[in-house]
């Protein structure tokens, strides 16, 4: 497997947007990859090719292009299975993204199995999409939501999980495999094995993990697993919810409509086979097909190489950034325990102002609460700045960021 570094010029050529000039004719430096990634021309071409050559609705018709479309769509399900070492393709449900995936679980599993007095455990570093659906559910059911807190290093305090499990009331533990703010990689093996012992189901929010490291769902051993295509070179509007078959078989349908039924009568209806039971209506066919290309692209690079590249960049950036006047950096210091997401703040300068100043140089970083307000409350800040890397980012990108951050110190006389 080649290193990303050695082929980075070719990789960058695959991403048309990297030639984009913004603001005062500055070349775009895109460092908001935790939010969404850019798309290689292979992905864009797959979508275009679908629309230009075989656009048709799927699963429904016998004519040629409908068969081609159905084949192409279903082949992506196989690609996802292979990419994540999932043995049963029917466990893979296409959804709009991580958010819809988690909500589907809350509605179609949670509303059936969560009862009054039950506990759902989440963590302090979750994205809103792994908090709010559970808040809504526990409110409806008279259940309770509890939080595993983080320590000063930005890591989960897993003893707290033991405490909750000991109550015997926990029905579900949900956590992010990688924090989208701190970059922390959760000790999934430990969490899931504790839950297994206690007979408790687990949901993994893998939105930040699947794009950036090799993940083996079978080995992981969780029950629910969700992620988004747009954070891994794929199109917007598509993502995956994986559910262990034995669990999926016990779930009520979520959306009612076309394709998810077997037979509809006026007053009763039977459901289609898995996974179609959970894919009601015309799916996002073009973007599933584009997503297939994204998986091909990443597979070709190799997820180990992707991870290695990001670890190098992150180490480089952490070293340089920590020397900037007035800066605070959040999350684990050890790059082997974190992904390529660096959140930071300047004393006395609001992140929004930092992002705007940096943007003037063509550099895109994110500032805000990153849909993690519970974590912001914990860190005792309203917002942070966040730079996050992907396969097309270089040390030069980091250098530009560092230089621009220097201007912040200057302008605000830090």
């Amino acid at each position: 497997m080649q290193s990303i570094e050695s082929s980075i010029e070719n990789i960058r050529k695959d991403f048309p947007i990297l030639k984009r000039k913004v603001r005062d004719n500055k070349l775009l430096v895109y460092l908001d990859n935790a939010s969404t990634t850019q798309k290689p021309k292979q992905v864009i071409d797959a979508i275009t090719n679908y629309y230009n050559n075989y656009n048709a609705n799927i699963h429904r018709s016998v004519y040629s292009i409908a068969e081609e479309a159905t084949e192409a769509y279903e082949r992506v399900r196989d690609k996802v299975a292979k990419f994540l070492n999932i043995s049963k393709r029917e466990e893979i449900i296409f959804v709009r993204g991580t958010t819809e995936g988690i909500n589907l679980v809350a509605y179609a599993w949670g509303r059936k199995y969560i009862k009054e007095g039950d506990i759902i455990v989440t963590t302090e570093y979750e994205h809103h999409s792994n908090i709010v659906p559970w808040q809504l559910l526990v409110k409806e059911k008279g259940a309770k939501l509890e939080y595993i807190e983080i320590n000063d290093n930005g890591e989960l305090i897993l003893d707290q999980l033991d405490k909750y499990l000991a109550t015997g009331k926990v029905k579900l533990v949900v956590f992010s495999l990688m924090s989208n703010v701190l970059g922390t990689i959760s000790d999934a093996e430990k969490i899931i094995s504790k839950c297994h012992e206690a007979g408790v189901k687990t949901l993994v929010d893998a939105a930040q993990a699947v794009p950036h490291m090799s993940v083996d769902v079978t080995k992981l051993g969780c029950d629910f697993f969700a992620f988004s295509a747009h954070k891994m070179l794929g199109p917007t509007g598509i993502g995956v919810l994986w559910v262990r078959k034995s669990v999926l078989e016990t779930m009520d349908p979520f959306h009612g409509g076309g394709d998810m039924i077997r037979e509809v009568h006026k007053y009763e209806t039977t459901w289609n086979d898995l996974p179609y039971k959970f894919e009601a209506g015309t799916p996002n066919i073009a973007d599933v097909i584009g997503f297939g290309s994204a998986i091909d692209y990443l597979s070709q690079l190799g997820m180990e190489a992707v991870r290695k590249h990001e670890m190098e960049l992150t180490q480089y950036a952490l070293d340089k950034m920590s020397q900037i006047k007035g800066i605070v950096i959040y999350g684990p210091k050890d790059v082997s325990k974190r992904g390529g997401v660096i959140s930071f703040n300047f004393h006395d300068v609001h992140p929004h102002d930092v992002a705007t100043i940096v943007d003037r140089e063509g550099i895109a970083i994110r500032s805000g609460h990153h849909c993690a307000q519970v974590l912001m409350e914990k860190l005792n800040v309203a917002a942070t700045n966040r730079a996050s890397f992907y396969i097309y980012n270089t040390k030069q990108d980091v250098d530009k960021l560092i230089q621009s951050l220097g201007k912040v110190s200057e302008l605000f006389k830090l």
Partner: protein, 148 residues
């Protein structure tokens, strides 16, 4: 234009299908349908001494579905359960010259194999009831699930 699908054999077989009807007190009765097109088949069998001594089918289906169902029932009738358990889709398809469907038409293949799916599922339920817990049955359910 050649229309290899709609050969005289198939049209005739579908127009005059064998074993259409229902059984009085079937030992096995299995319904299955294709949510895409509305094909809907019920397969009924009587079993004596591990042998399928009668088989009937009823329902709605296209030419391909009906022709294949007719052929399937003719192949199975009088044979023992092990034969039916191990029947391969290729055996049905080749009887009607439809082998290429499996490759060329992932959608029409479902029409051709609907009755076979019902057969495998029906046998599964029947044997599962008889030999509850026996592991040797698992392949039937999987066979049915992986037909197309």
């Amino acid at each position: 234009m050649s229309d290899p699908i709609y050969t005289e054999i198939i049209i005739d077989e579908a127009r005059n299908p064998q074993n259409e009807g229902t059984l009085e007190n079937p030992d096995i009765s299995q319904h299955d349908s294709n949510p895409m097109c509305g094909d809907s088949i019920t397969l009924q069998m009587n079993v004596t001494d591990d042998s399928i001594n009668d088989i009937k089918w009823s329902g709605e289906g296209c030419t391909i579905c009906k022709a294949c169902t007719s052929v399937l029932t003719q192949l199975i009738k009088g044979k023992n359960i092990d034969f039916a358990k191990n029947l391969k889709k290729e055996e049905i398809l080749s009887e009607l010259g439809l082998e290429y469907l499996a490759k060329q038409s992932p959608i029409r293949i479902k029409c051709a194999l609907l009755s076979m799916k019902a057969l495998k599922l029906g046998l599964y339920s029947y044997l599962a009831k008889k030999l509850a817990g026996s592991l040797s049955l698992d392949n039937l359910k999987d066979d049915a699930a992986n037909l197309y």
